[in-house]
């Protein structure tokens, strides 16, 4: 098991390096970080431009820049991923990309985490129910809901939910749902129950929006994999042994039907991060999604690179975790 883990971790490293190269090249060739300054009226002096170029390391060649970005050797101390520096920003010399990412990471992770946990839980429950009651009215209803959720565009649904939240608050005459902001600092220092209410008010709607797409596809997967297992010989043998139905479903069917879902969920992480950007924008959260949009607006290459590499790393890590989980869940994998 240890050897297997080591091998998987080592295998992830080259992927990570490749991801960093891809990230760097893609951002570096797309757009000029100084475009705004160049277009400014009145035009900036040659000296100002040169200074800006030097500050953003634009006076160096592309391979040099990549090397600098990764290692920071030969830079001004504000660059080098290995040293924990993400590079200079176009948003001013005092804007620290690393600090900004760190500050917003928690906000986004909270949303992504909650959405994934709820999506997964709900997907398993509905998938199993659908499979056990195949072709019943309940199954058809859940199938319909699933496809509906798959078909809803996130930004549109987020807007609808926001409007619905506002309407609901008006109807009740109290602010149950907060439809703007992440509310991180609002209840600081308040009693625990109030903190919870505050978190709930802010998180409920965005979480629903974000979980819906993943929930829909995962629940379909769970239904298929459960159906397959329910028709398998070993489930029949488990029944033939004289085990009660609920034991068979829990111990023999569900246990094995969960295995394929780990891969699907790991791959789905990328999609959730995607959705988080849109959701955060609509609900005006100051998370990584907002960070990403601001970076795009400002042609902030190093900020974009940092963001892309971070989400890439999260996806790679999620897949690594899925691989390891797979080995735990399925004994056939371990010794290979």
């Amino acid at each position: 098991m240890l050897v297997y883990t080591m091998r998987r971790v080592l295998g992830a490293l080259p992927v990570l390096v490749l991801a960093s190269i891809l990230t760097f090249v893609m951002i570096d060739v797309s757009g000029d970080p100084l475009a705004d300054i160049r277009m400014a009226q009145p035009p900036p002096t040659e000296e100002v431009l040169q200074q800006a170029e030097e500050r953003l390391y634009l006076d160096r060649s592309m391979p040099e820049r990549y090397w600098l970005w990764v290692t920071g050797i030969g830079g001004n101390g504000d660059i080098g991923l290995l040293q924990g520096e993400f590079g200079p920003s176009t948003q001013g010399p005092h804007y620290d990309i690393g600090a900004a990412i760190a500050e917003r990471l928690w906000t986004t992770l909270r949303l992504v985490g909650a959405a994934m946990v709820f999506a997964l839980g709900l997907a398993i429950i509905t998938g199993v129910i659908s499979a056990l009651r195949q072709y019943s009215k309940l199954d058809y209803t859940l199938t319909f809901v699933g496809f509906l959720a798959l078909a809803l565009p996130t930004f549109w649904f987020a807007g609808i939910m926001q409007a619905a939240g506002v309407k609901f608050n008006q109807l009740v005459g109290d602010q149950i749902f907060a439809t703007i902001g992440d509310g991180r600092f609002r209840a600081e220092g308040a009693p625990l129950w109030d903190q919870f209410l505050n978190a709930f008010a802010h998180m409920a709607l965005p979480t629903i929006v974000l979980m819906l797409i993943s929930f829909a596809s995962w629940s379909r997967y769970q239904r298929t994999s459960m159906l397959e297992v329910m028709n398998s010989d070993y489930v029949r043998l488990a029944r033939a042994k004289g085990l009660r139905n609920h034991t068979v479903i829990r111990r023999h069917a569900l246990r094995t039907a969960l295995i394929p879902l780990t891969t699907v969920v790991a791959i789905g992480v990328a999609g959730v991060i995607d959705g988080a950007i849109l959701t955060e924008v609509v609900f005006q959260w100051r998370g990584l999604g907002d960070f990403f949009i601001t970076a795009v607006d400002n042609n902030d290459s190093f900020a974009l690179m940092g963001w892309l590499l971070l989400s890439g790393t999260i996806v790679i890590l999620a897949n690594l975790v899925a691989d390891l989980l797979y080995a735990v869940l399925d004994p056939r994998i371990r010794y290979e």
């Binding site: 091998r7 295998g11 398998s232 010989d233 070993y234 029949r236 043998l237 488990a238 029944r239 033939a240 042994k241 004289g242 085990l243 009660r244 139905n245 023999h252 246990r255 094995t256 295995i259 869940l329 399925d330 004994p331 056939r332 290979e336």
Partner: protein
């Protein structure tokens, strides 16, 4: 154990002659879009304590559905009617809690495919212990101790270790023994075994059947053995029921049913079976037509459309299962008459002293599509016409010099094929090799059938592929008509491909579902750029040649049954007038009544077209029927080769002997009285074969008869293939011819 239950059981058992399972008028119907499908219709039988009852039938006859219905394992939408009483207590329609108490405790079941019957994520020990826990309040330790004991009973080596292993670490035969262990965990009264050995090799089948017998002795359970294999039934059960189209058509002691069948279907089944104890000259009699679709069952007797004796009455009135004993009037078997022979046929008495060949027609045309005997005769006329046409094109000169010594067409010299095993790491280093074929030499002469037999994984299919240069040799030489073909490029190989054609095992996967039959058969001609103008005519001729309706060329493969598709595969192979056909398990996927027709076809084609066959098969009965010479393979090498006659009358290698004696004969008396040579264990991994003689790890001679010094020779020196005074070649240091049949 639940005492209440036992008490009930005992009071009921007191009457009638100790019947443990009584099924009466059991019917199962599945709903479908085309209306209800009656899969099982009014099946009744009784099983007495400790008795073994066989249920035989072809695929789709409803034999498995019946047992699933008894176990309550059918999907919820199945409609089950009638009754099944276990120890006098009704078990059909019990709720989950009640049926769970019965299953596994009173009645246990063994399924067909051991590779999928065990849950891959739990250890073997856990899964056996689980069966114990389901019915007894015992500690984990006690349950595991019982599991260990059970594994010992079913004959699994080093059971202590096995308990901790996962199913994928065990071979198929071992897994099936684990399933048997689970079935006997709570000493049930009845064990239902549904095709328990169908997925296994014959030598392993023998071991598993042996384990099943031990399980019965140990628990005293009655056995219901469901199978399509008449040989297995002959050796294992006391009484047998023959199922067809969802009904039991004949029921009686095995001897009665096998020696004096009173229902044309049973007679036909026995006649269509190639037999190890039969003569090579015997022709097989396929049964006309195909089993009826459950959607539109005939109104009268289910077998009437295929029955050569059918009359008006048969088409109108469904016959009941009535006694056929001499001196008894025809009435249903009553109380205490479980043993008596009964059949569901209006004209049973006409079958006294009748042979299969008297009733059924020996034919090689497709009988599945045919509706009547007249149609078959018409098709046969077309076949002979088509053969003349085929030969004309072939050039008559070929057939002229039959008197001369037959030319050697294909010759293989020390073929070796190793598949590399690579490490899983990034570097994918070569860490070993699967020695699939190691040093096989053989030659195939003109107009002869050479059979390559062996169990799965022995390298027989790989050898066939090497001979056709479809995969690259590791070393060795292959020549066709004296011309070496190994290492030829695809382009240079192409002209030779015309002469060397292949027929595959799986009739479903080997035909492109998106092409019409005409396109499929014409494709080889198109590739070789021949017969472009008259391809249509030629395809028709080929269809007639293989006994199919030439009008069906525009159909797609899915519209044909397995046997018909295999005929299409043969027609495709023949389209280029080949000299050699390599047949890779051509009939192993077919039901016996269909298989017979295809075997007849292959024999006729060879006689009349002068083909050479390399016949790859695991089925010795078929091989004995069709082959001139046989080469027996074990773990990548040939262990014995001889003419069919010599090999079956005086096998010299212990493996050949074991193989022959492991094949069940469809003859109850012979099957039970014959001498057996049993091998133990499974085939070793070809990645790490034993030193010296590769068979020594399973060899009964090595284990039993040889002295220490003699054994050393087996361990150190690989025996070469040569004649050791038996008149044919074998690869055993201590070979000795034995008579087995």
């Amino acid at each position: 154990m639940t005492t209440e239950y036992e008490n009930k059981g005992h009071t009921a058992v007191a009457d009638t002659d100790d019947v443990v399972l009584e099924v009466s008028d059991l019917s199962v119907t599945f709903p479908s879009d085309d209306g209800p499908l009656p899969a099982v219709r009014q099946v009744s039988y009784k099983v007495r304590r400790g008795e073994a009852l066989g249920i035989v039938g072809e695929s789709g006859s409803g034999k498995s559905v019946t047992s699933m219905a008894i176990m309550g394992l059918l999907p919820r939408n199945a409609k089950v009617e009638g009754s099944a009483r276990l120890l006098g207590r009704e078990i059909i329609g019990l709720d989950d809690k009640r049926i769970s108490e019965v299953r596994g405790q009173r009645i246990a079941m063994i399924f067909q495919d051991p590779l999928t019957s065990l849950n891959p994520v739990y250890t073997v020990g856990y899964q056996i212990a689980e069966a114990v826990h389901a019915h007894r309040k015992v500690s984990r330790k006690e349950a595991l101790a019982r599991a260990l004991e059970l594994l010992e009973i079913v004959g699994i080596p080093s059971p202590e270790q096995r308990l901790k292993q996962y199913p994928h670490e065990l071979s198929g035969g071992m897994r099936q023994r684990v399933v048997i262990a689970i079935a006997m965990a709570n000493d049930p009264d009845v064990i239902i075994a549904d095709e328990p050995t169908t997925a296994l090799d014959v030598t392993v089948q023998a071991q598993v059947l042996d384990a099943l017998q031990r399980a019965r002795r140990e628990t005293g359970a009655a056995l219901v053995l469901i199978t399509h294999d008449l040989g297995v039934v002959a050796g294992q059960v006391d009484r047998v029921g023959v199922m067809y189209a969802g009904r039991i058509m004949e029921m009686g002691s095995v001897e009665e049913v096998f020696y004096r069948p009173r229902m044309p279907y049973a007679l036909g089944l026995l006649g269509s079976l190639p037999r190890l104890d039969g003569d090579r000259g015997d022709r097989l009699t396929p049964i006309l037509g195909a089993p009826p679709s459950l959607r539109d069952l005939p109104s009268g007797c289910g077998f009437a459309p295929r029955c050569p004796m059918a009359r008006d009455r048969c088409h109108e009135e469904e016959p009941r299962l009535l006694l056929v004993e001499e001196g008894e009037e025809r009435r249903p078997a009553g109380e205490g008459e479980v043993d008596l022979h009964s059949a569901a046929c209006h004209f049973s008495e006409e079958l006294i002293e009748v042979d299969a060949t008297d009733l059924f027609k020996v034919t090689s045309v497709d009988t599945e599509g045919a509706e009547s005997v007249a149609e078959v005769e018409r098709a046969e006329a077309l076949v002979s016409e088509a053969r003349d046409g085929y030969l004309d094109e072939d050039g008559a000169a070929e057939t002229a010099d039959t008197s001369a010594e037959p030319e050697i067409l294909l010759r293989a010299d020390h073929l070796v094929k190793h598949f590399p095993i690579r490490s899983k790491g990034l570097l994918r280093r070569k860490v070993g090799a699967v020695q699939a074929v190691s040093g096989v030499s053989l030659d195939l002469r003109e107009r002869e059938t050479l059979a390559l037999v062996g169990e799965s994984g022995c390298g027989k299919s790989t050898t066939a592929r090497l001979l056709l240069n479809l995969i690259r040799l590791t070393s060795g030489e292959v020549s066709y008509r004296g011309r070496p073909i190994q290492g030829l490029s695809d382009r240079r190989m192409r002209p030779l491909r015309k002469d060397l054609q292949l027929v595959f095992q799986d009739p479903f996967a080997s035909l492109d579902p998106r092409m019409t039959v005409t396109d499929i058969i014409a494709e080889p001609m198109r590739i070789h750029g021949s017969g472009r103008q008259d391809a249509g005519r030629r395809v028709k001729e080929l269809l007639e040649l293989v006994g199919l309706n030439p009008e069906h060329g525009s159909r797609y493969p899915h519209e044909f049954s397995g046997g018909q598709r295999q005929r299409i595969g043969v027609a495709r192979a023949l389209s280029l007038n080949p000299k050699v056909l390599v047949l890779d398990e051509p009939v192993s996927a077919l039901d016996v009544s269909i298989q017979a027709g295809v075997i007849n076809l292959l024999e006729d084609l060879q006689d009349e077209l002068g083909l050479s066959y390399l016949f790859v098969s695991h089925d010795l009965s078929v091989v004995k029927h069709i082959a001139d010479r046989v080469a027996v393979m074990y773990l990548g090498g040939i262990v014995e080769t001889a003419t069919t006659e010599q090999l079956f009358s005086a096998p010299a290698h212990p493996y050949t002997q074991a193989l022959i004696s492991a094949i069940p004969l469809p003859d109850p008396v012979k099957e039970r009285t014959r001498e057996r040579i049993i091998v133990t264990g499974d085939i070793p991994s070809p990645a790490d074969p034993p030193s010296g003689c590769r068979f020594r790890t399973r060899c009964p001679k090595f284990a039993g008869e040889l002295s220490e010094a003699e054994r050393t020779k087996c361990v150190e020196e690989p025996p070469e293939l040569r004649d050791r005074g038996t008149g044919h070649q074998d690869a055993c240091h201590y070979s000795q011819a034995v008579e087995l049949i």
